[in-house]
Amino acid sequence: MKVAVPDDAPPVMAPSAAWAPFAATHDVAWFDTLPADSEELIARIAGAQAVINIRSSCRFTESVMASSPSLRMISIWGTGTDNVDLDAARRRGIRVTNTPGVAAASIAEHCLALMLAVARRLIPVDASVRRGEWQRGNSVQLAGKTLGIIGLGAIGRRFAQLGSAIGMRVICWTMNPNPALGFHLVPLDEVLRDADVVSLHLRLSGKTHHFLGAAELARMKPSAIFINTARGPIVDEAALIGALESGQIAGAGLDVFEQEPMPPGHALASLDNVVMTPHCAGITPETLEAGLALALSNVDAWMEGREQNVVV
């Protein structure tokens, strides 16, 4: 069986510890550039039964699937599946797997890092001291404040724990509530209204595109901090920028954007109440290795008829 990796750019799979033994025992086609368009993607995966998808910019549309008759399985490295047309995959009997869980701890830590940095104004404070200033302004203490979690997947649950660790009260809203998990579940409006920090942990889908817009942001406290490490388009970014510029909310910590990389001169880049990182919350050396190994293991498991981490 042939396995294609059409999009290892910049390469993460090839240098990983798990890749060499996999490549030695499988028929692999590997590419260290991004396919320029869907024609090139189709050419790269031609004849492959399994495809390992590294970059979310590489899109598996219905037409890509229709033009790849041998394709039976897509192993996504990561948890987001928005770059794969899942309905089309289901109709065509193409298995889609992902690598959940491996990055949850790192992403939750990243949320904590962003929340603390925004509250303490860490980036502008560091810049100001380097300029020779000594402005000892008041920053915000999080102990005793309320953390609102939207979405209780592995990441949301872990961030809720970290919030409790630093002394925050935690309230949650989730699509599929399970009271047995023991979290304090409240209506979404209450999360928006009561939380001093609102952190988003939903999957991007047709249902969650622009899930938070101007109306939802308007319900948040003027002192609220917004954290997004999930996917950019879950929030109406123009409305978020408006809320940050007008002081409708106090600040934001963002790892994801509607367009990635952010184009130079983007309106967010001039806001000093935002801490932004280039979509790498889940990318630490430890999670990279674990996730890449799992993406390969998902292929092997599928080949051996004992599927794991199946999305559709």
Binding site: P10, A105, S106, E109, H110, L112, A113, L114, L116, A117, A119, R120, L122, I123, V125, D126, S128, V129, R130, G132, E133, W134, Q135, R136, G137, N138, S139, V140, Q141, L142, A143, G144, Q161, L162, S164, A165, I166, G167, E260, P261, M262, P263, P264, G265, H266, L268, A269, V275, M276, T277, P278, H279, C280, A281, I283, T284, P285, E286, T287, L288
Partner: protein
């Protein structure tokens, strides 16, 4: 009729913490009969003078220096109440000799400082300043000099395991750290066993920690405690965080450790002299995060500090012992007892 109980406020409050002072005075002191709150007046170099001290029964001290000379002939004040926990600007022995209690506010400080330590630890681990800069400039992951690292399973270390160190370890319990180790000659293993902290020697803290934090007070024994030798023991992947006091660390050695990459980075909220000179070499280094001794300085902290300090002063105004006493040996001195007696 009883004399009014006069509280002198060090003049830096009026420039550094005016709002907090006003809030504490109106919430905690304004309603108490016989309490007068007044500025100590201008103090050149922020050094208290005997005249400025002797007009008051109690002193609110922010960053004011009280030296042996400041106390020459001083017999009136019964308490110097710090807003905060450091007292390196205050000659404690001289205060005791003049029958003056020194109180600090440990209950208000431990949480915000521990939170500040984690702010720096996580910002360093996740390489936030560089990531923010790269993202703003339209760059992406490939432009980063390094990705973030996870704190899961790493070793959190502390030089000092008192009020703040213990709070840091308490908060760290469910964060996923592996080992938690500390050096503190004044704390026993029994006192910190429940926190999961292992007491070790100072070299072990530096050699084995992924994050070395400083949580000790500044005094003659801790000035210059952290030397080049200690920093050279650290792993090249490890980070150093100082939110305690600048002079505890040999600054030149820290600069070299960062410049020559003996260590991966540092979060520095405190400096040998504050404000530091504008050409402090740390300011041109990319692998450190610097802050103006204000990482823990939140609106809430100042209110809590002030309320705790005000309650310490109010206890004295009723002739009772205050909380947070540093110089416990003052308590049994007849001169101090006589002062308290006056306020009963």
């Amino acid at each position: 009729m009883k004399q009014p109980f006069r509280i002198g406020v060090s003049p830096d409050y009026y420039t550094e913490a005016r709002e907090s002072l006003d809030a504490v005075v109106s919430a905690t002191l304004a309603g108490v009969e016989g309490i007068v709150v007044e500025s100590m007046g201008d103090l050149p170099g922020l050094v208290a003078t005997p005249e400025s001290l002797n007009r008051f029964d109690a002193i609110f001290a922010l960053a004011v220096h009280i030296k042996a000379d400041s106390l020459a002939g001083v017999d009136r004040p019964a308490i110097v109440a710090r807003w905060g926990v450091g007292y390196d600007r205050i000659d404690v022995e001289a205060l005791t000799a003049h029958d003056v209690a020194l109180s600090i506010t440990p209950n208000s400080v431990r949480r915000p400082v521990a939170e500040a330590i984690f702010t720096l630890i996580l910002a360093l681990a996740k390489n936030l300043p560089e990531q923010d800069r790269v993202a703003r400039q339209g760059g992406w992951r490939g432009n980063l000099s390094r990705l973030g690292v996870s704190i899961q399973g790493t070793t959190l270390g502390s030089v000092g395991c008192g009020n703040i160190g213990q709070e840091m370890f308490r908060m760290s319990q469910s964060m996923g750290f592996g080992r938690r180790i500390a050096y503190d000659p004044f704390v026993s293993q029994d006192q910190v066993r429940d926190l999961g902290v292992e007491l070790v020697d100072i070299d072990t803290v530096f050699r084995e920690s992924d994050f070395v934090t400083v949580n000790t007070l500044l005094n003659k024994n801790t000035e210059g405690l952290v030397t080049e030798r200690h920093l050279r023991l650290m792993k090249p992947s490890a980070f150093f965080v100082n939110t305690a006091r600048g002079p505890i660390v040999q600054h030149d050695a820290l600069v070299r450790a960062l410049r020559e990459n003996w260590i991966a980075g540092a979060g520095i909220d405190v400096f040998p002299v504050e404000p530091p000179p504008k050409d402090d070499p740390l300011f041109s280094l990319g692998n450190c995060i610097v802050a103006p001794h204000a990482m823990a300085w939140t609106a809430r902290l100042m209110l809590d500090n002030g309320t705790e300090a005000a309650n310490n002063v109010l206890a004295v105004s009723r002739g009772e012992l205050p909380g947070g006493i540093v110089n416990r040996d003052v308590v049994d001195r007849p001169g101090f007892r006589a002062k308290l007696e006056r306020f009963r």
